[in-house]
Subunit: 444 residues, 3 copies
């Protein structure tokens, strides 16, 4: 049913290969994903190929968006997408797909294309296996814990939150408070009659309580490049927040005041509930509106962590794992992590999740940052199957970096290099994302 054959390719260099063989046998602690805990593994190949990495890359080569439109049946969508896979068969994204096919579906062809897609589709049909399939993928990937991305009104019920760890995603609160739906959801999920800044705070406090008591171990937000965290001035925010709640039109400066105030409030609750606050800096939403779902966002590379200084200074007790979207911003994150105790270099995000960028960043982090601050990698996956190939990609780069930088250059033993690998991959994520104030028992 599931092959034990290694679907991934080990590094060429023998020292790196030895390191990788070890790393690849370790459990995976994944501090950021978009997994649905009610349906974590893919029930069919369409749920794999529907990942925006494939639809957007295919679309970028000319595939019309409606070839994978929501109105089509899953098998048809997969057949359509397969027509475009040859165009991206050089990419690391395609290599994840091959590793999934080989590792989880005993696929033996060299390519996924219109000739072989039918076979693969059949092999990947897991509807009847249901939760048993989830468990098989979990076990084959040696998963230990996966962090989710939960809306603030997620009831957080119906799954094992020690395995599928809740993480409070707060983009809606910070960036969309003025949208009618947000306030309605907020009232419904908290029972608070939100009418103004004060009741907003009460409601958000309820959210944190619920998340913390259900074992959440992080709060997260993605922030556009023009966002500047400033110390909240509640008196200034009172009127804009009330106007937003009353669904009145807002001026740009009122929007700005609202997102600044809500963001600062969230940081205050992170301090109170002892939750790390993941900052995912850079995306601009809907830059390419005609793109496929999930493939419309980009960034403006002109960002600086200097804009975050007031935040980092004010919230000395809050740990901020930081991801930057612009690959060229990576070296600034090294410097800020070097100085601020509460700034931590998080995994390699989205457009930065390319081996060439990861390798350059990882080498600098290992050379210049305290090892106890290095936060390894996260999968950002929507389906369980992606976690293994993405982590294997990272573990391969980590093995090569440790081989070159530590064993070869510094003369370390392989054992010492492996210890550093463990700190980066497991010890730090387990410790830093190990608990919150209400669930201290989860700490490791």
């Amino acid at each position: 049913m599931m092959t034990s054959a290694r679907g991934t390719i080990a590094p060429f260099d023998p020292v790196a290969r030895e390191l990788f063989d070890e790393l690849a046998g370790w459990p995976i602690f994944d501090p950021h994903s978009h997994i649905d805990p009610h349906r974590p593994a893919a029930r069919n190949l369409d749920e794999i190929l529907g990942y925006h990495y494939y639809t957007e890359l295919a679309h970028a080569t000319g595939m019309p968006a409606d070839r994978v439109g929501p109105g089509l049946d899953p098998r048809t969508r997969s057949l359509h997408l397969a027509e475009y896979l040859e165009r991206i068969d050089n990419t690391v994204q395609y290599s994840w797909l091959m590793e999934i096919a080989r590792t989880f579906h005993v696929f033996t062809h060299d390519r996924i294309d219109p000739q072989t897609i039918g076979d693969l589709y059949d092999r990947a049909l897991r509807d009847r296996d249901g939760e048993e399939w989830d468990r098989q993928v979990w076990k084959a990937s040696r998963l230990e814990a996966i962090f989710l991305t939960n809306d603030f009104d997620d009831p957080l019920e119906g799954w094992d939150t020690a395995a599928y760890v809740p993480c409070l995603r707060t983009d809606d609160l910070v960036l969309k408070l003025h949208e009618p739906d947000t306030i309605d959801r907020l009232r419904r999920s908290t029972g608070v009659d939100v009418q103004d800044l004060a009741s907003l705070r009460v409601a958000i406090g309820r959210i944190f309580e619920r998340f913390a008591s259900r074992g959440a171990r992080a709060c997260a937000v993605s922030l556009p490049p023009d966002f500047i965290p400033r110390r909240a001035a509640p008196r200034r925010a009172v009127t804009p927040v009330r106007r937003a709640i009353q669904k009145m039109d807002l001026r740009p400066d009122e929007h700005e005041e609202i997102r600044t105030s809500v963001f600062w409030m969230l940081a205050e609750f992170c301090a109170e509930f002892e939750l790390p606050f993941d900052l995912m800096i850079g995306p601009v939403r809907n830059v390419y509106p005609a793109g496929v779902a999930g493939g419309r966002d980009l960034f403006d590379r002109r960002v600086s962590l200097y804009e975050y200084r007031e935040l980092f200074n004010h919230f000395a007790t809050v740990r901020f794992p930081v991801s930057t979207l612009a690959p060229d911003a990576g070296s600034e994150l090294v410097a800020y992590s070097w100085i601020f105790p509460n700034v931590l270099p998080m995994g390699h995000w989205w457009y930065s999740n390319v081996p060439a960028y990861i390798a350059a960043d990882l080498k600098a982090r290992i050379q210049a940052l305290p090892k106890v601050k290095l936060l390894g990698y996260y999968s950002d996956a929507y389906k369980l199957e992606f976690i293994l190939p993405k982590f294997n990609m990272y573990r391969r780069i980590l093995a090569e970096t440790l081989a070159e930088e530590c064993v070869r250059e510094r003369g370390w033993s392989v054992d010492r290099a492996l210890q550093l690998g463990k700190v980066v991959l497991l010890d730090n994520p387990r410790r830093i994302f190990g608990r919150n104030r209400l669930s201290p028992g989860a700490a490791i």
Copy 2:
């Protein structure tokens, strides 16, 4: 007369060497140069050493600009420049020179310096050979097609436009419409009595017709870092354009309105004539006015493709091969090419045309972008002789990248790696720059 000996040095790594030996035998398709089709190869060494790469580097080490001034005779200029070559004999630019000397002029000395320059000058005298020399260099370099940089009033007559492919360069129209000479040239070359925005459009339409019917396969423009393409508002542009044509003084916002409107109009014609629109983003002209000719321009690295979003969205049918001048902007181009179907990563331009920068960019492009979008390299050359050493530099980096990334890391066969190389170097440029609406026969 011309040695067959390989003037270039093959990669050290045996797999890369095997790949390079193959790549180096392929034809060259060069989608951007400044070659003069009436006099493509150098008639003497001064036309080689006069390339701004050498005069500006020599000047940057202390050579007074007048040592290579236009009033001197060609041999004297070459002797003068040779006095400074030892100072730059570490550079890749110098290595192109050595490869030209060895490949085309049977030069056997180890260095080009005041002792050997006389010999090389004599060897490189090709005045008597004339067009026969052009043909020899063409053949020895295995050239297939070279794109030119043609002013809008170039008559495009007197050469084989299938080999020396016209490309409409539009900097003068976008950035210098207010200069009296521009409008005069526009009137003369189109026969249109340009007086206002409407007649300007008619004149530019005539230009596109002429270029397209003469086999042009691209339109190109270089844009300063502060340029922001915005959707044209013809009503807003009417008055500034008329004032520019009437040679009246313009306010900064009027200049801005003019360049925005003309640029947008060009994109509209690119759509109509089905021409790729090469965007060369970043240069600021004349930053160092005391520099030698061609060596006065630099850039401001604070640019972002985010400013181009409206353009890329609006002109979905126009392909935009993009070059960025700031080397650190390369990773943003990867992300925009990943999402926008009509954005294509073009070759490595000018200050980014350094092996370390090319290698980093190329690796990321091969890892993250659909192979059908990778546009390889262009020479940017002013004389035919430079095409071979520049392309060999790129083919060496490509061979090393394919060897390391594809053969070693992913376990590909050498044949599969070569196929990818061919897609990058030949298939894509031939297809994307293969035709226009009026010359569909040129398509491949």
Copy 3:
């Protein structure tokens, strides 16, 4: 007393190792440090561990600042810091410490930790050796010359200025003229009754005379990212400068006018006294006020040398060795050094002083810039002991770059590669920092 054993680790690659073995035997010319010439080597381990690289990294992992506070005795501070060294034992900064311990103190343990710190502290006690210890470290490191960082009111007396070369640091004049202390120090040290712009110029002229006559060979300043050098407009500056001297409150535009005017005046004196003007671009001071001493400054990566164009054009005779703090700004410095004769790429500064960043920058510099402009490395050290391990780190990277780029890729002989290494490490720094107008005898 001092081991001859090599404390550093040679490169793994045999060609790089051969090159490194040679480079490592050369003298060191160090054009920027913070050495105190009255007390150059460390008298005890606390003076080594007190280097901000260690206290700030330890603090960034959670060490409270008061664990190494000034009120503690030196041994206690060292013991406290040692408790945190395991957390940073992966870093290149820690490797400098190990090399110091092994090379200068015959330390034979594998780690510096709470168990071994006592032994190392005892070994490193050099109070009784005094100046003899300074001489030993100097000799063991094969030092030839070290540039200092001298305040403008430093009397420059009491040491051999051919070995410990004065360098006029001007941050106080440019950035703190409005602070009462600055004017008082200026009056006292120059004897000029500074009251206005004219007398300020007289005073600064006196400073340059004193420094030049005492053998200074550079002027230096660190500039924040928002600083834009503009041509001075003395008439505009008269009032703000007078108000600053009279200790009146200043508006932001007046502050700006003052720092611009003083900076421009310094460049004029550099021209007059024929002193290189080191520009250290990027730091913002006190971004993290709660940090340890020396560990509070960071940067905003959004800087461009384009802002410096007027300066570089105006002062054609002044050489500007430029350091950039943001690692991602390195490629722009390559381009500006390529064009401007008076812009020189200086060593790798602070947050850019990480092997991964150095290697990337160095490779591009060697590929694209005239060798006579490459300015190698500087230690930025506060104590003599750091110069050797830091230079060895750089020499290792240089050896690897020469091995890979020159010997392997271009087929150079090892001797030719070594010659290039000597140009970079010794010939250029000796020549460019060799003299000033009043001490031409110091030229080499």
